[in-house]
Amino acid sequence: MNAGAQRKRVDAAGALRDAAFTGLIAFGLFLPLIGFETVTNIRDELILTTRWPLLFAVVAITAAGRFAYSFALAPWLARRAAQPTKPAPPAWRFYLGKWFTPFAIGFVIAYPVIVILAAGWGGALKWIDNFGIQILIYVMLGWGLNIVVGLAGLLDLGYVAFYAVGAYSYALLAKAFGLSFWILLPIAGILSSFWGILLGFPVLRLRGDYLAIVTLAFGEIIRLILINWTALTNGYAGIIGIPRPTFFGIPFNADDKGFAAVFGLEFSPLYRVIFLYYVILALALLTSFVTVRLRRLPVGRAWEALREDQIACRSLGINTTNTKLTAFAMGAMFAGFAGSFFAAREAFISPESFTFLESATVLSIVVLGGMGSQIGVAIAAVAMIGGTEILRELDFLKEIFGPTFDPTQYRMLLFGFAMVLIMIWRPRGLIARREPSVFLKERKSISVDLVKEGRG
């Protein structure tokens, strides 16, 4: 008893010392950043003011946080790690794993109805458009990139290039030839996969980091072409008035021949949004279905084998060049589908929408979700895109932090925070198990610790 109390006191002393040290570092770091401020006074002079209360508040919070960590959290984590046998996962985990996918699919199909019932006819638009469609576009992009990065192990930092090719293919062809969305959707996919192969050829001999750099450059090249080839793409101004998809030839407008009039309904922009929601849902599910199918086919197994060991693949007679090209082409095709949908939904595209940040977002969705995992990628897309969209909704924060506070400015902070947390808690992503594509007696999922990440 006495010894326990003694140890406790020593722990508290250690934690205090730790907290003091952290506070010192925080003080040094934040002194120039928070402690001083330059303001323009009434005579238009720049003067230096100090913000001691704020500085000390930040330092105190940092030190208190560190104290809480080293006094309570760290010993608790150590005790948990030291436990000899881990308790068996509770039964709900099993049922969660079994029922999650059908439930999730049912939910996304019923989502517009649920939203209309919950938010009413007027409020539903935002929830279906900003959340539903936006998230599903990224789910689809994540699943597409997952083929290249997660299955084939080729790190692609320029994925947005294929998204852009799909979007501009649809926009330009639809405006020039007046072809419908449903004809141009496959054409945009084919054109994108063609560009995927075109990128694939020169980079085939590159591996790992070098491959990543070249794909990054490719994404930038496409963006710069879109900016500078003004005769074709109209540069920064972008393309406006892109035709929107129709419901089997019936447009969604207030016209006499519009969707609402034909079906005897009152006109509302909601019909088009609901239609678009189901289009992107169908496209995303198609991506997932094809990917799951491909994983069980020789080409999918060859992708995964390529990620595991390229030299062994070659010794077994697998043409690694063609295998990599098919991975690039498949991934690019789905980005092309998503791109043409994006152009049709927005009716306006410009190079602004296809920056490196988009590639980084999609890649971080794949990495956070767990490379190769379909469900993980979907969850990560919901968290990342839904998370940033929900920031727009947090108006009550203005009452706490003042009217100039804009929560959407903290998007990147949230991103970074999520990344750091995942890297500590789940370094290989949310779903860190690989499901075998075939089995003899029993399907045993494989710990990702054994699975390689691929070096191109």
């Binding site: 094809v290 199918r293 491909l294 086919l297 020789p298 080409v299 197994r301 060859a302 995964e304 084998a305 990620r307 595991e308 060991d309 030299i311 062994a312 693949c313 070659r314 010794s315 077994l316 007679g317 697998i318 043409n319 690694t320 098919t326 690989r434 075998p436 594509s437 075939v438 089995f439 003899l440 007696k441 029993e442 399907r443 045993k444 494989i446 710990s447 990702v448 054994l450 699975v451 390689k452």
Partner: protein, 302 residues
């Protein structure tokens, strides 16, 4: 056809230079059909380089590497084939390939030379069964209509996959890995990983099986089991085996023919008992010049 004394692989004047270093110097030898040929030599003798040349991972600087299957009469076409500049000739009665002209994956796919690696190269994050299915990639790819028919789920692919699973199962059974079929390959014990790599190579239906130190790291019992398996492969499947090995008990027990390399040069070639008593071989292994062999032997009591 099994052991008719005909040649399956003919290596002629093989030379491999890396810059100024001559790793293999004018090496010629033959592998007879249905036999086990061992390639031995001290560390750095160039054995693995020879393997990499045969399997297409390296392009030899000079030399001709010809592999034949089917009717031995196909060998008569070798000079015409060499002059034609083509990679190989496939006829109904047999086929002949010039391996030095083929990229690595075609050596495996068309000439049907399978290999294993000195440091095991399994797909460790995939199950044992998946490893064996990847080995049957080309046949399955054809059956899946280059993926198109397979995505649509046509029955022709399903039956091809069943056949592939049956083949994988039969090899797993023979190598004693059947109860580990659904486990990740990376979790197997070392000896089982070695066996799996040989089983995977066998799933490609090879004519010639090249094994780079298959017994390395195995205990004596595992090593003896592997010997049995290699003999079964040789006798029952009409496959010729070329192996690199340091474990002399393996070499002397199972090989029909031994080729000895030292500093990239062939110093001996013949039946195991002949090679064992060759003073040049003894000198190479003991690291002394030929004329000092007698002294050294006397000193160590041979």
């Amino acid at each position: 056809m099994a052991r008719d004394g005909s040649t399956v692989l003919r290596v002629e004047h093989l030379t491999m230079r890396f810059g100024g270093l001559v790793a293999v110097d004018d090496l010629s030898f033959e592998v007879k059909r249905g036999t086990i040929t061992a390639l031995i030599g001290p560390n750095g003798a160039g054995k693995t380089t020879v393997f990499n040349c045969i399997t297409g991972f390296y392009k030899p600087t000079e030399g001709r590497l010809a592999l034949q299957r089917g009717d031995p009469a196909v060998w008569n076409a070798i000079e015409d084939l060499t002059d034609s500049g083509k990679r190989g000739t496939v006829r109904p009665e047999g086929a002949l390939f010039l391996l030095e002209r083929m990229p690595d994956y075609l050596v495996a796919q068309q000439a049907r030379v399978a290999r294993t690696f000195q440091n095991i190269r399994l797909f460790s994050g995939m199950t044992v069964l998946e490893n064996l299915l990847v080995a049957q990639h080309n046949r399955l790819m054809l059956a899946s209509g280059y993926t198109l028919l397979g995505v649509l789920g046509l029955p022709s692919y399903a039956s091809a996959e069943r056949a592939a699973l049956d083949k994988a199962r039969s090899w797993l059974e023979r190598f004693g890995l059947l109860d580990r079929a659904d486990d990740p390959a990376g979790e197997l014990p070392y000896g089982a990983q070695r066996r799996l790599e040989v089983a995977r190579a066998m799933c490609t239906d090879p004519v010639l099986l090249c094994l780079d130190e298959p017994a390395a790291g195995l205990n004596p019992r595992e090593s003896a089991e592997l010997n049995e398996l290699l003999l079964v492969i040789r006798d029952q499947h009409d496959i010729s085996i070329l192996l690199i090995e340091h474990d002399m008990s393996v070499v002397m027990k199972i090989s029909d023919h031994v080729v000895v390399l030292d500093y990239g040069v062939k110093i001996s070639d013949g039946a195991p008992e002949v090679v064992r008593n060759d003073p040049k071989v003894i000198a190479a292994y003991l690291g002394v010049a030929d004329d000092e062999v007698a002294q050294v032997e006397a000193a160590v009591g041979l």
